[in-house]
Structures are given as structure tokens and as C-alpha cells.
Symmetry: D2
Subunit: 299 residues, 4 copies
């Protein structure tokens, strides 16, 4: 880990130059796959990856992710968007189209526990997390020097019961229009609706239990108390309901009666960082569609 | 699977002839391991397997499982028991001593879903479940012929809201003094306190979720609704609290948005039967100690 | 498990009536997804599931699986096939088209160990294996009565070094033109090239190790000797190279120094039957494409 | 991760002050558990954890790990050692006795890939790896600044075909008498017998495959070529046979046809670092006994 990298953006790889991704949700109906693939073909695009899922063949929802190459993408993107609007309209699609060159911008929120932050920074530096880490925001000063050594701005915004509202306002100002995704990397404060609302399905939290078991505080103590034989962690989008948002990814590990709460925490740290990193990776690669309170993940 | 076996007991293997197991729980204190191992050595026993666990070195509980060989075990067992009483007394031990020849007797309760029953019968017939299956009790008649083809008695005791009490009374009479362990192999009736009380920590249930998530009915529908990415099953001892007893074993499998409720059930069936079979195996091999609402499993 | 079912075919479910699946392999090129989806749309078919994979965007192979509904499928299938030939020709496609009503016919080969056979029969009877089990062939007579109780023909063809060639000839005659897939469910004889050749990529074997570790005989003894901490099983298509064919599925379980060879075998039996059943399920659902010595599995 | 820690030793926790561990291997025989536990009891020691394993009750090997508290351990340790010699002699024991305060000293060897080193340093800094990291040795200079920021000496010893012998001599001089364990954290040079011999069962390597599959170079390319559905990593003690030493720990993760060699490497990096860290943790906690080419791990 070379702590001297001063540029927080991933370099653009050659194959990314002319590649884009579309995410589509709409009511299912005949001709959807044909319409989209025909459209892309007529515009000279070559499909590289195509994923589709229909929730229920009889009147359910249709979800699609398509990755394609198009020569001179930069010049033609606005035309493609304009032309696609007609199809989108016809099928009542919600849709997004991102060129791969346009990396997602991340704000990572962290408190005192560093393992999830360290993992994200390591994966990002190893080139495994294809995003720009624009900033780290913390209610503590502990990681300041470490984060800044990567050339990433660090905002220390203390939160106390008295200053909570003000602190949230400050957070909101700092991230506004600057980041595409907020990652709560063991950020031990409940985020306010004022932050959730503009970042609907764009705030990922890691909860240190296998949800919906052990909602709320001290999940490892709850797990120890209940005597479970497997513990887990859950990455989910944040909604107004505590630990109740759409689940993106979960993983688990076997434990035994020998593991006390501290051991559970130690084992859990590795699950947490791996699960959170996967969820963030999938989000920045546009692999996740949200429908009601569930995710469709094309991975 | 030879359905013509007419003898529900496992044969005694040569090494089992003179082998016995002790299970001990007591407050921790100095000299426990020395006292037990010295006792066994002085009585000519050779320790084959020794497991120990101290919940908390400062004033916690001490759990021990020891497997030993003793020549002419049959003749000497009552003496060993009598002599050990003094040590047990000194250390305030709860203890049990079983010769391996004395196979545990099982009653399996089942409703309409057959996968857990089939698994137990298959493992038992393959020689992997070292027990005697004394009877199968069901509120339906469906499996009668299949179970009887193994030479195992099948009791069909219908349960309706009106006859529930009477049915439970009949179950109790049938199992009383005849079985050591009751296995609820997807038995879809809540068992009454009248049955739980005499079989405290001797009724194993398989719950088709990763407890404590999705307590109660229709756990796969609950899991689908919540959009979890991993499903599981839990084997636990039955207590008066629904799905709240000491957990013996759990296992899980990854699922995705593509899996509807029926797929979850299909995937879950394999988890359920494997988890239940493991728990039953550990119980009949005297590998489980229960303390408060948790299990110590020496496996 | 009702041993009185005398009909070895799964019933056709309503949604299967007009549903079909296509499997396509061809060199990658522009317009493939569009061509196929447009074709289906123009013929009035509605795509239910669409999977695609391109091995290497630059000049690699393209694989596609599409599941679609088409009204009056029976009447229109031959037309669809005839019309699709032009597209297939243009893109140099290898392709198959199966109506779901046309269940794959299976011959299961077994020796003395019954666990894989029992699993397949149980999953088939539970409705989880959507195929017809046309026959069981064995070099032993042990399972005859059990298999016949399901209404499935059982052919006992003993194999000795002297009669091997003759026995293989007999097997070939029995299966010829009657089965679509041969499943070696712990069949402990090496099958001859004479059988492999007409059933290229249509013979599935379960090898009781995590291939390519422990090729050949006695893999659990080899695993014990090497002291591995995880054991596994591998389902693969049979080729002329022993245990060298395309891998379909693998799974593993953790073991420890406490597990001797017999314990490894016991643990392994559950891995073997689960892995084999998954591979067979995917094959009969047309989810597997083979390219060179590797599989693409759309599951 | 506070890069300003300048002291590479873990602090001694209060409970460690008077705690010690014994590791014993010997031919099995009657009275072993009694002799050791009686000895400890008579010397005033209180057993905290006791693990035992007999490879084969009939004439096999016996392995034991015991953790105990003894007041004024420092003053009495040499007496305990002297007194135990008689028992050890009687039972032909190989044995070791370590006070917990005496942390194992580690040398970590690394080349260019940093993930295993970063993991070990992170776990060590989080207090999860109870050892002293005495030095890092590398054939490259890349990590120098990063490692030194932890206060750990970094020795850059380039290795070329011409200077290999000289480089190994230098490594040997640097580690000699200063470290208890050498960890090859993706060190991409084959270590010489001259280093292996004095560090028999004290050099841990991480091999990036599920051994014995894919011995030697480029295991991920081999895995891709073979089309396996699960990849793994293996931590083992280094012997003169390449990738052939006693296996300590393995773990795996599911992959699919979609994962090319680079994806396998990416997924593998997380398995590698987790598996290596577990093996190192168990070694420094004296949980591993080696017999012939296999390990007994009391974890």
C-alpha cells in the first residue's frame, strides 16, 4: 500500500473509453428485449453483457442491465439518450445510462472502527474498486492523517446530542452535488432523513449482523446471548426505518460456544469489510436495481 | 436403500463394547481435569477423547466430555458410577455416564413433508446415525407404508383443534419411558408443555429459518419478503417459547433475487435435513451440553 | 416418499405448456442479441428469461440461453425451427430448441453405494428434478427391489474383467435412442469410449474429490493422507480422460484432523449427492453449455 | 490504522501475566491426561483450556495442548520445567512450554503484492495478531516507507539468479536468533533448504490455490484453464518439497464462468490474506502440532 498516491481517481482503462451501461426497470411486456437490443444495434453499439430479470411472468416488473461498446461514445452519447427517450416512454421505463469513464464519486463516513475504511481504501488502491473516493467524513479525528496520506480530504465533524442537527447540515453541505454515493463504513450515528431523502438508494450501510436478526445496537452481544452458531453482516441501502432498507449483500461465518463477544467482534470485522466492499463495488458498477424494498443484483 | 431391514437398532461395533462417555457440568474450580482423569486412570480406564470448556475462567461454568475404554465395562459400570459420586459431590457436578452399547431410542414426529424423515432414515440405514429409531408418530397417514417397510412402528394420531389435547395425551403415552429423544422432523404442530416438561432438552426441532430471524410461521415467505441474500435452517431444543430454545446447529445457503418462495423452499429443504441430521447425530453421541439457553457442542 | 408411484414422468405444469428454451453458441459478433430477440418478438414469443455470456469481447465465443412463451407452441414449433435456421446460418450458431413439455429421459448407473441414487429419486419424487427417470442400470442387484418400487425398470448387468466388453455392449443397446442423459451416480466402473462417443457431454459423473485434486481411485484416502482441511466433490461431463472432463459443479465442506478416512467418506456422501443433483438439475433444465473443456452454467 | 505506532510489540494483557501453554506429542498410552493434569494441579496451576487428540486409539500418537494459570509464573517457570522433565521422559514426550507474555517474533517476507502483508499488519495493529513483528524482508523496495511508518525495520535484499545464494545468506544472518516464525506473505522466491532446515515447521507460506490442486506457478491461470467452480488458498509449513508441506488452513470461494483470470486473482486475494492470517494467528497462539506431514490444529 503506497501511501503516497495523491490522486483519488482510478485511471480510465482502454476498454472503458467507449463503453457504457444502461439500467432499466419497467412493467413487463412483450418485445422489451427486442426493442432495447434492436435500438442498440441500429445505433452501432455492440452488446458486451446483457442481464435481464422478470419478477413474475404474469404482470410483474422487468429489470435489465446492458453493457455495450459504441465507437466515439463521447460524441454520440447525447444523441443516444435523446433517441432512447421514445422507447423509454413507450414502455414506461425508469432508466439510467452511464459511460464507464464517468466514475462514481464516493463519500465514506466513518467513526472510530477503521476496518471497513481500510478495506475500501485498500481495494480502491489495488484497482479493485472502480470509483473516485472524494472525501471521508468522520465524527472523530482519529483517521485524519491516515486518510490524508492518500490525498483524500478528511472532514472532522463532531456530533453531540446538542450539535447533531447542525452537524448533519454541515455534512449535507459538504456532500451536496459532489458525491454520487455515501458509504457508512461503521459510522455509528443514525443519519437523518434530511440526508436520506436526496440520497435515496445511494447510501450504503454495513450492519454487523445477519439481518433481520439482531436489528439495532450491539448485535454481537445479542448474537452471543442467543447462542447462534453462525454470525453475519449485511450491507443495505439506508431508509428511514433503522436497519430496514433493501438488502444488497450478506455473508456469514461459523462460530462456536468458544467464541465470546470479543471473538465474535473479531471474526465479524472480516465479514463486515468483505460484505461492504462487495456491495460498494456492485453499486459503482451499476449492478443493483431497487424495487420496493428489495434489490436485483446482476453480478 | 434396502427397505427390507426389519431391525431398527444399529449393531454394536467391536470398539463400542467397552467404551463409555461422561458429560459433566459444574462451577469451574481448580483440579477438575485432574480429579476426573485421575479417577478414570485409577479405575483402569483409558481416555480416548477428552473435551473441556470453561465459559469464563473467573467463576464461570465448566463443561467436560470424556470418552474412555474400560475392560469388562458391563461388570464394572455400576461400581464406577458409585465411586464417581463422591467426586461429583465435591465439585457439585451434574453428570451423566453412558455406555456406547446403550443406543439412544428415538421417536420421530412428522407431518406431510417427508424430506427430514427420509434423511434421518437414510443416514440411520447407512450406519451414520448411531441410534435406535423406535417409532414414527404423525398427524397424517401418508408415510405409514414407507416407514413400516423399515420395520419401524408408525402411529397415526390425527390432530384437530378439537382433539388436540387428547392427541397429545396419546402421544405422551406412546413415547413415555420408551424413547430418549423426540425429533420434530418438520412436525407442523406446536407441542404442548405436557410433552416438553418430561423431555426437557430432549426434543429437537428443525426450524426452517436462520433463527432468530423469521420466528413463527411461513419463514420462507418472510425471507422472500425481506429480500435476504442467504437463507438458513436452525435445529434447537424445544422450550415453551416458540422457536426460542437453545440452538444446536445452523447452516445457510446463498440465494438471489431470482429465487421465488418455491425456490427458497426447495433450497431450504436440503439445508433443513442436513442441519437436523447433524443435531440429532450430536445428541445421540452425547456431544451436547445445555447451560441456560445455550448449547456447548463438542464436535 | 410414496414408493407406490408407478409413473416415472413428471406431470406437465400449466406454465410449461407453451414454453421453450433455446441454447446458442457461436463466435461473437455485432447484432446477436438483437437478431435473436427480434426474431422471437416477430414470431409472437414473449421472453421469460434471457442469459448471455461473451467469453472475450474481442473475438471470443458467445453463449446464450433464452426461455420464452409462445401461444400454440406445439403447432408452431416446426415453423419456428425452420425460420430460425437462416439466422443460425448467418451467425454460424450451434443451437438447440426444446419445448419444456419434452422432459429429458435419464438412465442412472449405480454400483453398491446408494446415496446418490436415493437423492436423485427423492428429488425427482419431490418434483425438484424435472425429468423422466427411464431406467437404472447397475453391475449389482442390490437396489433392484427398491428401484422397481418406484415403477422404474432396473437392469442388472454384472461386469467382470472377462465380460466387460460384452456388458458395455449390452448397456449401449439398452440406453440407445431411449435416454437423453446418463448419470453415473457413484458407478464404480470406467465407462468405455464406445458409450462416451454417442453421449458426448451427456454423461454426468460425480467424482468424490475437489478436482483436479485427487484424480483416480480412493480420493478420500488421498485427502486424508495429504491432510487437507476441506474436502469436496465434483460433477463433470465424462470424456475419455479419467476425471478430466468439463466441470459442471463443485462443493466443499470443512474437515479437521479429527476426521479419519471413514468420517471423510461420511461427510463426503452428503456433498456428493447434493453436487450431483445440482448438476443433473441444471442439465435437464438446459442451463449448461460446453465449450472446449469448460462449462458455461446459466443458473 | 494509525501509522504512527512505533512499537511493534503487543502489550501484555493482565490475564496473560501468569498464563502459559504446553504442547505435547507422544505415543498414546494409559494415564497421559491424568499425569499431565495431576502434575499441573499439584504445582498449583489452574487449567483454563485443555485439548487432546489421539490419532488412533490402538497404538497411535497422542497430542495435547493445555493452557493454564499459575501464580508467580515468572519465578516458578524454571522449576515447573525441571519437574515436568520426569513425566516427559516416562511418556517419551516431545513438549514445549511457553508463557503467554513471551510473544512470538515474526519476520514477514514479501515481494510486490501487498495484500497479505497489509492484512497481517492491520490485524496486528487491531490487536488480533498477538505477536511481535520484528522485521519485513523483501526482494523489492516498494513497501519500505509503508512498513517503516509502523516502526518496523525493512530489509531490502534484491534477489537475482546470480545473487540468489548470497541473498539467502544475508536473509539467514538477519533472521538468525531474532525471529521465531517466518511468514512468506506472497514472497515469490523459492526459499532454500539452508533457510528451511533451521526453521523446520516455523515457515508459513500462503499458496494461492486449493492444494494439492495447482501446485507451482500461476495457479489462477491453471484454475481458469481447468474451469473449476471454486477457488481457494492454502497456508502450509514450508518443506523441501514445493507446495508439499503440512497444510495448516484452507479456504475457498465460489466462482463462475464469468470470472476471467484477473477476476480469479482479485477474488483470490481476499481468500489468501484471510487464510494466511488465520494460520499465523494459530501458530503464534501455539495451536498447531505437526506430525509427519500433517497438522493437528486445536482452534
Amino acid at each position: 500500500m503506497d501511501t503516497h498516491i495523491k490522486n483519488s481517481t482510478q485511471p480510465v482503462k482502454p476498454y472503458e473509453e467507449n463503453r457504457a451501461r444502461m439500467l432499466i426497470s419497467c412493467p413487463d411486456g412483450p418485445g422489451l428485449v427486442a426493442a432495447v437490443s434492436q435500438f442498440l444495434h441500429e445505433h452501432g453499439a455492440n452488446i458486451v453483457q446483457f442481464d435481464q430479470y422478470t419478477m413474475d411472468p404474469e404482470g410483474g416488473m422487468f429489470f435489465m442491465r446492458v453493457e455495450f461498446d459504441l465507437d466515439q461514445l463521447d460524441d454520440r452519447l447525447s444523441n443516444v439518450r435523446a433517441d432512447f427517450a421514445a422507447i423509454a416512454d413507450k414502455f414506461q421505463m425508469e432508466w439510467k445510462l452511464y459511460p464507464l469513464k464517468q466514475k462514481k464519486k464516493l463519500a465514506i463516513f466513518v467513526s472510530k472502527e477503521d476496518h471497513c475504511l481500510v478495506e475500501l481504501l485498500w481495494q480502491w488502491q489495488a484497482g479493485d474498486l472502480d470509483a473516485e473516493i472524494s472525501m471521508v467524513i468522520s465524527n472523530h479525528a482519529d483517521m485524519k492523517e491516515y486518510v490524508e496520506s492518500f490525498g483524500i480530504p478528511y472532514y472532522h465533524i463532531p456530533v453531540t446530542p446538542d450539535t447533531k442537527k447542525e452537524a448533519e447540515q454541515k455534512q449535507l453541505e459538504i456532500v451536496a452535488d459532489k458525491v454520487d454515493l455515501i458509504v457508512l463504513a461503521r459510522y455509528m450515528q443514525i443519519v437523518s432523513p434530511a440526508l436520506i431523502s436526496p440520497y435515496r438508494n445511494r447510501i450504503i450501510n454495513i450492519h454487523h449482523s445477519f439481518l433481520p436478526a439482531f436489528v439495532g445496537g450491539k448485535p454481537y452481544a445479542q448474537a452471543y446471548e442467543r447462542g447462534v452458531k453462525i454470525i453475519g453482516a449485511t450491507a443495505h441501502y439506508v431508509t428511514e426505518e433503522l436497519d430496514g432498507g433493501p438488502i444488497i449483500e450478506q455473508d456469514v461465518q461459523r462460530v462456536s460456544h468458544r467464541d465470546n463477544v470479543n471473538e465474535l467482534k473479531r471474526i465479524g470485522r472480516t465479514i463486515e469489510r468483505v460484505v461492504l466492499a462487495r456491495a460498494v463495488k456492485w453499486h459503482v458498477e451499476d449492478r443493483i436495481l431497487v424495487h420496493q424494498n428489495k434489490t436485483v443484483v446482476f453480478n
